[in-house]
């Protein structure tokens, strides 16, 4: 009886698994744990480091519009600078990390894409 019950419940799980509700976010607790001030800098991040990160990010990812006009070396340099920013994400607060991780991926992804288009050319 026990074996039957286990077997049946495993089978049910196997069939119901694809029907589970989609879109469940990872952490959706509504706890109000934000720092008292509402500026972009979080308390968790060192303001100076955060500003340096922002400055470098703006400088690198602000060049996405020029990507098609850059040389392969310039694109490689920008990609290297993007990669150098990744470890610095850990110094930011949780929200900034989430936002900049995606923005950095988009930005680096574009440079890699454009570099790929220039693969066969000399420039």
């Amino acid at each position: 009886m026990r074996k039957l019950a286990i077997f049946v419940s495993l089978l049910a799980c196997g069939f119901l698994w694809p029907l589970r509700a989609e879109g469940q976010s990872a952490s959706q607790t509504q706890a109000n744990t934000a720092p008292p001030h509402q500026t972009k800098g979080g308390l968790a991040a060192d303001p100076a480091e955060q500003q340096a990160f922002q400055h470098e990010f703006d400088d690198v990812c602000g060049r996405t519009q020029d990507a098609m006009l850059l040389t392969k070396d310039e694109l490689k340099d920008l990609m290297r600078r993007c990669d150098a920013l990744v470890p610095k994400l850990t110094k930011l607060d949780e929200t900034q990390r989430k936002v900049y991780k995606r923005r950095l991926e988009q930005c680096r992804g574009l440079f890699a894409y454009v570099l790929d288009t220039k693969k066969d050319s000399n420039k």
Binding site: M1, L4, F7, V8, L11, A12, F15, L16, P18, L19, A21, E22, G23, Q24, S25, A26, S27, Q28, T29, Q30, A31, N32, T33, A34, P35, P36, Q38, T39, K40, G42, F57, D58, C61, G62, R63, T64, Q65, D66, A67, M68, L69, D93, E94, T95, Q96, K98, V99, Y100, R102, R103, Q106, C107, G109, L110, A112, Y113, V114, D116, T117, K119
Partner: protein
Amino acid sequence: MKRYFLLPLTLLLLLCLQALAQTATQPAGVKKRRPLPPEYGRVVIGQNVENAQLAPVVFEHWIHRSMFTCRVCHVDIGFAMKANGSGITPVDIQRGYYCGACHNGRMVRNDKTVFAGCGLRDTLADEQRCDRCHSYGKSVKSEYNFARFSANLPRERFGNGIDWEKAEVQGLIQSTDFVDGISMKRNSLAVQKDFALNPKVESMPDIIFSHKKHTVWNGCELCHPDIFFGVKKGTTKYTMVDIFEGRSCGACHSTVAFPTMDCQRCHSKPVQQ
């Protein structure tokens, strides 16, 4: 007794679950309901959230796209292109990210101060403000009326029923591409050439794809490489089925930009006889 019941019970369970799975998804061969013009582009965020204290958020694209380009939100602010894809929490909004980048009670747009999103010290008294976004399942009177908004805008088929591109060309809407404090200064983009895509079915006219029209609102990184990763034209093969299911062109042109149901908007080149 166990042995005799095991087989039929298993079959019963299998069949019932299969039937359940089939009824849960919409079968092929029936026409889907088409959203009304004010409903098109609506994104419901936060459904099926555990311990949710407020109703899910109903986000309307039409009011936002009349003021900002796609790039401001989907690149500069960093919103994902799928509901619940960004993982927004009230803390993020309080810190001035995502919705809170504009909905902070300080930004001024069209001579109005943009109302603040989730606040740190919100109480029950702020319910009316919360309901402006958290309105799913509730009857909340919206401040902006779609009929009034779209009355003078050039019309097009399906979707919102608005020709957004023409509206901007005619100056009826001003989509900002740069928001101070959020966007970074960029040079203007070198113009890309338009090109034609050949469909598989011979009787369908060619598609004229215009990079220029797309980059006016999107920039490069919104599509490349996430949505279109093929480097050389013609290397990525995608079909209309992919598009209708929300991949490649369908990432935007199934739920937000003009829907792919309007064949002639893309298949616009006359067929060479």
